[in-house]
Subunit: 471 residues, 2 copies
């Protein structure tokens, strides 16, 4: 019997479980960035372990030195290929005034699922999980293991340490007995976004990231600008000057000396892929609700989004935030900035460059890194890309576009390097789902199509021949 | 009998009333900047009217079109000179995390009075009130009338309208019968700050102010900097660039073209006064808890504080304010800025200049004025200055320094122009009281000395001959 025969019906039947599990997981506010959420992070991991065990998978919480990670799955036959499915269970903060619902109260409205983390990345994680369970139950000869991180949104600072702990021989490990974890033959990541609904997209590259906090203190308390202005230093004005010296605000061109030195010019093959992607400036702007853009040219927009680095200011802390103008000088201020990076920019090297430059601009400003992720570029050819193409077509009835992704997933580079395994991206989110934005949502269309695509992916991956190491 | 004979004892006896009244007034959060406090503004005015009436003064609330003002006093003989005492009863917001007590819960700790508004300006207002009552009770032949504004902290937008309403013939007025209000022969303002405790200081000039809000919207919702960065415009980065083009952050030199055109160079007499003032850079820095300064030279510091204009950034709204770095691009941002102005800079003319310049820098930025105050410079000679000198010496046992004040009081220029009357400054606040700062306080030493100084001032002013108009 073909395992795909009862698939659509099975997926419909799994909907109540999917919604109940997504709801429970969304209602644990796993905001990795917020030190006050430490307990919730562990609670979220516990819920995930429960889900795995309920599906008869092995599962455990693995310590990383930071927030834990969750591993588990079905590793049943050393002769079979092994795939690791990567998702993350931590979420962005949700403090924007635009939220029209409680961000950590799950809400179902028809086919839509509302709440922080529904699309990034708890919904895709559970989609992959239920699909894997189906594949395993139907005898697909594949070891499937899950790796669910809880520090993705803060740049995966302890991911490598967690992996090391996970693959250490059982005796040397610090924690309770873990499931057998096999070095995978391939990895599939479900944490990326299509260009538009109805057209699957599979990225083959990611930008890196370097986030930093600039802080400056010039007094011990707020000062009256009439009484002190002219002599008192203003940390907000000074930080504004520093960031303004790092980027041309209009063009977006980064003005840190040496910043572009390692940037590889965009190749012909990439440019051709981009042009075939179906990317449209107008629908991009509409999906993200951007009313003003730096460029309108299609090719140039894709180049900037996928193959050019950036420098962004995300917030100035320390000034007056209320109504009107309070004319006082803050004692200290902080600027939150980040840079998206492209191959072959190295975040650590750029951080040194940046810090040196800021020190020259204003020696009193303290510069601290707040997460570094290397950029990633995968190979477009080979059986895994072909499998991915067929899986997405099977799940959604349309040929996927191969694109790059402007965002960053820190764990990807670590996994690719540690395991020398291809990392593929089977993302399910849509632009209108509001990644990192208020009123985040996911939907049943993407979840059900995603389950179908994942089942197909697992079934085909089980047939890709792998070189077996001698055990 | 000399009215000063029982004065010290009387002041001691008035302490419980002073503390009770100050406490009640401080606990009404009259934050004029906060639209949510509209009811509290009127409640504060009501409390002030009650106080005046309890002292057998006439009193009324006068409509201005904005927050009301309070007028009242004892106008008993048209042949006597008339003095108007100006204070304000509105306060700054109190949202700083540094507050160690509830800002709107009055606390007495020995001789210290804690709470928002204790020193700016409710404490000085009640000091002047109790002194005036004493003078009136003891037969000083002077009409004393109070003018208590409730929009000082937002730049007195309706003060001129309030004055016009107040001095209109009774029939033409919109509100209930008001006390007789006489055009005063002189005005005394108690809303300024000494250079240091123990050394009274009387300013003879004020800087003006021009506050503005710059706003820019580039999207309808927050965007993911990975998914949109490079093409999406960043309103925070753009506003940082705009403000950075308006001022040299290090030197403080304003770089708006034409900004200094009307600035009068500092005269020899002013410079001499400044040097005699006792101003010390180290104690100035200590009083305001400034740990880093733009200049350390004494004469240059005074010149910058009292005779040079400034451009300050007070806050950037719209970015991420939480822990870590949230790498999203805000849809809109606001920069709150202000400029302190010196004679003969005109805020309205400078606003046009500023808006034109910002429009040139970035045509999408909206510029809105948020309060304009003209600078003020009084004459140092004449009988009122001499009276003020003697009053402060009497109250505090020390010769006052005549200085300029870096702050702004919008009402001063309006009163001086409308009434053609000299405006003198009998301020009682100390730098350590924390004007506009967290943990604001006042103290009994300044209140009791202030009462003494005010009684002396009223007694002497009653003897300054005035030209009587024909009635």
């Amino acid at each position: 019997m073909n395992i795909f025969d009862g698939l659509d019906q099975h997926i419909q039947q799994s909907r109540p479980r999917f919604e109940e599990w997504l709801g429970r997981l969304v209602e644990v506010p796993t905001v990795s960035m917020d030190p006050a959420r430490r307990g919730d992070m562990r609670r979220g991991a516990g819920v995930a372990v429960e889900y795995l065990r309920e599906l008869k998978a092995e599962a455990a919480i693995v310590e990383t030195g930071g927030h834990p990670m969750v591993v588990g799955g079905w590793v049943r036959n050393p002769a079979w290929p092994t795939v690791t499915v990567y998702n993350h269970l931590d979420v962005q903060p949700a403090m924007e005034p635009e939220w029209t619902r409680e961000p950590f109260t799950f809400a179902v409205d028809g086919d839509h699922y509302y709440g922080r983390g529904t699309t990034d990345d708890k919904g895709p994680a559970l989609t992959a999980l239920l699909a894997a369970y189906f594949a395993v139950e139907h005898g697909v000869p594949l070891n499937i293991q899950f790796l669910w991180e809880l520090e993705e949104e803060i740049g995966s600072p302890h991911f490598a340490a967690g992996l090391a702990n996970l693959t250490r021989p059982p005796k040397a490990r610090q924690d309770a007995p873990l499931p057998v974890f096999r070095k995978p033959d391939s990895v599939v990541v479900s944490d990326t976004i299509w260009l538009a609904g109805g057209r699957p997209a599979a990225p083959y590259g990611l930008r890196g990231n370097l986030a930093a906090r600039l802080t400056l203190e010039t007094a011990k308390r707020e000062a009256h600008s009439g009484l002190t202005g002219g002599v008192a230093r203003n940390p907000l004005t000074e930080l504004a000057a520093v960031v303004s010296a790092c980027v041309d605000a209009k063009s977006g061109r980064v003005t840190i000396p040496g910043f572009y030195r390692a940037v590889k010019p965009l190749g012909k093959a990439d440019r051709a892929q981009f042009l075939k992607s179906g990317f449209q400036v107008a629908s991009f702007a509409a999906a993200h609700q951007l009313t003003k853009l730096r460029v309108r040219d299609r090719a140039e927009a894709m180049r900037r989004l996928w193959a050019e680095p950036t420098f962004e200011v995300h917030g100035f802390v320390g000034g007056y935030q209320g109504p009107g103008v309070k004319t006082s000088i803050p004692p200290r201020a902080e600027a939150k900035v980040s840079m998206r990076l492209v191959p072959d920019q190295d975040p650590a090297a750029l951080f040194s460059l940046f810090r040196k430059y800021v020190r020259k601009l204003n020696p009193d400003v303290r510069v601290e890194a707040d997460g570094m992720l290397r950029p990633y570029a995968a190979d477009l050819g080979g059986p895994y890309a072909e499998t991915l193409r067929r899986a997405l077509r099977f799940g959604f009835g349309k040929e996927p576009a191969f694109i790059r992704e402007g965002g960053s997933i820190g764990a990807v580079v670590t996994m690719a390097e540690q395991w020398k395994a291809p990392v593929m991206f089977l993302g399910l989110s849509l632009p209108e789902h509001g990644y990192h934005a208020p009123n985040e949502r996911f939907d049943w269309g993407q979840a059900s199509g995603g389950m179908k695509a994942f089942v197909k992916y697992f079934e085909e991956v089980s047939r890709i021949p792998v070189k077996r190491r001698v055990r």
